[in-house]
Amino acid sequence: MLEINALPNEEKKLTVSEYKGKSLTLLTDKGISVGDTIKISTSDNEFIAILMPRYESADENHIVVKLKSGYNIGIELSKIQFITKVDQRSYQNVSTNDSLLQIRRGGAQHDDWKKEPPPRIALISTGGTIASRIDYRTGGVHAALSASDLYASIPELVKHASIDPEVLLNEYSENLKPEHWTLIANKVSEKVRSGKYHGIIISHGTDTMHYTASALSFALQNLPIPVVLVGAQRSSDRPSSDAALNLIGATIFSVKSNYSGVFVAMHASSSDDVIACHIGTRVRKNHTSRRDAFESIDMMPVALVKGESVEMQPPQQRYVKLQERNNSGHNNFIVKSNFDSRVILLKYYPGFDPDLLSHSIMRSTYRAIILEGTGLGHVSRECIPKIQKAVESGMMVFMTSQCIWGRVRMTVYDTGRDLLDIGVIPLSDTLPETAIVKAMWVIANSNSTESAKKMMQENIANEMTTVTPIMDK
C-alpha cells in the first residue's frame, strides 16, 4: 500500500532531533532546543547566540549557533566549558497582511476585478516550493502555499486570476511513483469536473516533472481546459528564483490559451523574460541546473508567454494535434488514471550484458521492456537471441533512441531489420521517458497484449508525430 506523505503547510516543529550522539546528549541534558537563545563559554571565547539546526549528515562534534551579526558558526563540543539557556524560542503567529500592504509590486489590487469576476485557476501543489518563506532566525525555508501567502509572494498574480491553492503532496519529485500520477490525475479530474476553473496549475519538483506531464497527457483525455505543470530550477527562497515568473507564465497561459491539454511552463532562456509552454509528452529536462532546462524535443515550444500575452507558435499545429479549449463543457472528458509499473527502461551501451534481458527476474517482474538503443534504434548482435526469447515468452519489447532528438528507423541497417524480424516494436519519435510512461498506462488500460502493442504504436497525446521539422537546435 502506498504511503503518501501529504503534508499541510504547517510549520515543522523544531527540536534538537537533527543533533545526534554527544551533542544531542549535551543539549537534552541542558533542556535546550533549536531556536533557543543560549550562552556559551569556550576555552577562548564567549557567545550569546541562537541554537540552529544541524545538517543530518554533519558530525556530532559541533553545535551550530547564529550570532547576533546573523552569521552561523559551529562550536566544537570539546571546547565548551559552560552552556545554558537564556531565552526560549517564541512561536509567533504569522501574519502576512502587513507584507501585502508593504509590497505593492505590480500595483493592481483585487479591485481590478470588481466589474467581472476574475478567471479562476486551481493550483495543486505536489512538492517543491513555488513560494516560500525564510525563517531568518533558524534559516529554515517553509513553503508558503495559502492563497494569501501566494499573493504576498507574487502579487502580480492578482492581475490575472483568482487562485485556489490546494496542497496534495509534499514530495521531492524523485520520490514520486506511478501511484502518485494516479492521485494527481484524479485530483485534476475532480477540479475539471467542478466546472469552476479556467485552468489547472500543478506545481511540481522539476526532476521528474516531464514524466508526470506525460502520465497526465495519457490519463486525462479530451481535457476541456489547460493543465499546466510548473516548477522552479532556483528555489523560491532566493530573490533570483525563477518560480514566480514560471507561475505567472503558467497562470497567463492557463487563462489565455485557446487550447486545452497538458503542458509544462518554464523559462525559455536564462533571462527572466519569456516562458515557454511545452506539450506534456514532448518535453524533457535537458540540463541539471539551468532555468531553461526544459526543452521541447523535435519541435518548438507550443506557445511563448511574453509579458502578459500568449504567442502561439503557429507552425507547430502542422505537426501536433491540439484540442480547442471549451470552458463550459466537460462531457467528452475521459479519465483513465491507472498505471501498471511492470515496465523497465534499459539503456544500451557498449559492454551491455545481454543476459540481463533473459534474467528470470525480468520475466517474472515485467511485462514490457523499453529499449533506449543507439542511433536509429540498435543494440548489439549478442542481444538479439535474448530479446527473441523475451518476446517469445510474451514480453513486449519497444525501441526508442538514446539520441533523444530524431526518430528510430530500424529498416536502414541489418541490426534494425533483425530486431524488427524478432518482434521489437519501434516507437518512432516517442521519447524514451514518454515511452515508459505510455507503456505503464497502456498496460493498465488495455485488455490484451495485442491491443497494448497496437496502442503503443498509435499517437494518443502527440507523443508520436509524423513530421520532424527542420530547425536549428
Partner: protein
Amino acid sequence: MILAINPECINVKVGFEIHQQLATENKLFCSCKCEETENYKIFFKRNLRPTQSELGMYDAAALFESNKMHTIKYHAAAGSCCLVEADEEPPHEVNREALETALIVSLTLHSKVVDEIHVMRKIVIDGSNTSGFQRTMLIANGGYLDINGKKIGVQTICLEEDAAKLISDNGTIREYGLDRLGVPLVEIALEPVSGKPQEIMQVARTLGRLLRASKRVARGLGSIRQDVNISVDNGNVVEVKGVQQLDQLIKVIEYEMLRQHGLILIAQKLKKNNINAEVGIGDRIEDVTNILSKSTSKVVKKSLADDDNKGVFKAIRVKGFSGMIGFEPYPDIRIGKQLSELVRFYGLGGVFHSDELPNYGIGSEQVDAIKKKLQVVDDTDAFVIVGGQRDRVEFAVDALVKRLKMALNGVPAETRAATFDGKTTFSRPRSGSGRMYPETDIQPIPINNALLDSLSDRIPRPWDEIIDTLAKKHRMNKKLAEQVFDSPYLSLFEEIANSTKIQPTFIASKLTEDLVSLQRQGLDTALLNENMILDAFERLNAGIVAKESIVLIFEKIMKKESKTIDEAVAALGIMPVNEQELQRIIDKILEENMSIVKSKGIASFGTLMGRCMSVLRGKVDGEKINSVLKQKLEQLLASNTGLKTQEYQD
C-alpha cells in the same frame, strides 16, 4: 546662518570595514579566473524579488530596492564567468587558497578562528549578485591591530564573494559586468575608534599595509574598498560605502561629521520649537499636478512629461517646519538636500520645498494655490513637492514623510555612498542583520588545530620590517620604500630591480611619484598594464630607449594616444641609435659648431650638450651623450693647439 561651532569639537567615531580582494587565481566558488575585462560577449536579463521572511515581513533594504522595479542586464565574458556567476549552477567548493589566506590574515590579527565555518547567504537585491544574495562566511572573531603600541580591536573577519561591477543605471535598466562577481574578498571589521580624521586614517593605512605584507592580496585601484561606519555623539551609525582612496576618506569623515552634527542641530532646533511627530508631518498629501502644469519651470515640465505625459506632482504638508527645511547649520547641510537625495533613489530628480519658493519658475501664484489646496494656513507650516512617474512619486511620498519624521531624531541610520569629491549621498536604509540564512548548497567546513598550526608558519613578516628591508636592499630612503610598498607595483618593482641594471631609486620614483603625478592630471593608470611597464624598463636596460623617455611613453599610453609600447616609441620618434650613429651625430654637431668650439674652447660644452640633446633626447641616455661628447671635445681641443683648454664646468 552658520553656527559658531568648531568642527574640531565634534566627537566622531569611525569603524572601518575593509574589503580586500585576494590575489587568488580562481574565484571563491568556481574555477573561473579572477580577471577584470570589458570584453563581454554573453548577455541576459533578470529581475530580483524580495523573499518573504517567516514573520511575514520583507527586509527593509530589500523592499526598498524592489520598489525601484529594475530590470537587470548582466554582461558576461568567457574565462571570468561560468554558469555559477550566471546563477545557473550551484556553487562549487570554497576555494582553498582563499580560505587559507583568510585564516592567515586572522592569525596575523590575533583573531580567534571559529571551529566550523558556515557559508551564509546575505540578501542583496540591488542586482549586484545574480543570486540575490552574497555568499559570506565568518572566519574569526576578536583580535587586534597594533598601531605604534596602541591596540585597535578587530570585531570580525569574513571571507566573501565580491559583487558584480555596475556598468550603468538609467533608472529602469541596471547593467552589471559579471567578471568581478565571485572574486574572493576578506572583510575585516574594526572596532570604532575616535580621534582626528588624520589619526583615523592611519588605522586604515596600517591595516592596508598589513594585508599587503601577506603578498596574498590583490593590488591596484578597486582591489581594496573601505566601508566606514561613522557616528557622532547622540546620532545613529551611518554606513558609507565605496571609499576607494585614503585621501578621499579624510574628506568623507569630515563631511559626515558636519552633516551628522548639522542634522542633530536641526533636531535640537525643532525640539526647541516644540515640533514632534504628533503635530502633523505629512498629515495632508494632495495632487498638485494641475497647479504646477501652469509653471514655467523646466524641471517641472520635464517631470510632467514623464511616462508619456502622465507625470504627476504631489505636495506634502509639514506642520511646524517652516524655515527648517532650508535651514543650514553648516554650509550646504540642510533637510531639503537630504530629501532630494532620497527621492533620487526612486529615479526622481529632487524636491521643491516652501523654504525655497517662489523660485525656479514656480511663481507665488502657484505657491498660494498649493498652500490653499494643502490648507496651509499657519505661517509656521511648510510643504514639500515631488513629481514624476506616478508609482515612483507614490513611493517617494511615503519615504519623504518617514524621512521628515526622522529629522526630529537627528541622524537616521542609513547607508550612504561616497562621492569622488569626498562627500556622501543617500543610497538606502541600513539593512539589519536579519537577512542572512544558510547557504545549504555548501557543507560546513571544520577548522582543526593542525591546519591552523601549519598556517601559523605563514604569518607574514610585519610590514614595517618589509619596508625597512626594501629600503636597505635597494638603497632607497624610507619614504620612497613606503611609497613603493603602498603602490600597486611592489612585485613589479622588485622584478625590474632584480632583473635589470637600472638604479632602483629611478624605477621606484617612476612607479610612484611620476605615475601618481600623471594620475593627478586625470590620466588613467589602468590603461598601463604591468607588462607594458616591464617592457619599457627592459628597453631602457637594453639602451634602446633613454631614461627620459620612460615617463613620455607612460603618458602616451595613459592619454590613449598609443595602445602599445611599440606604438608609443614610434609616436615619440624614438628610434634606436647605435654607437656608430651616435659618434656620427656628435661629430656632425661638433663640425657644425666649430666656431663656438674655437671661440669658447671647453666652455662650449654646455651649448654643445644642448644641441646634442635636442637631436638625441629620449633616444640615447643623457649620461652616455655627455661622456661621448666630453671625450670628443677634449680630443678635438687637444689636437687643435691654440684652442682654449681650461677646465669646464658642467
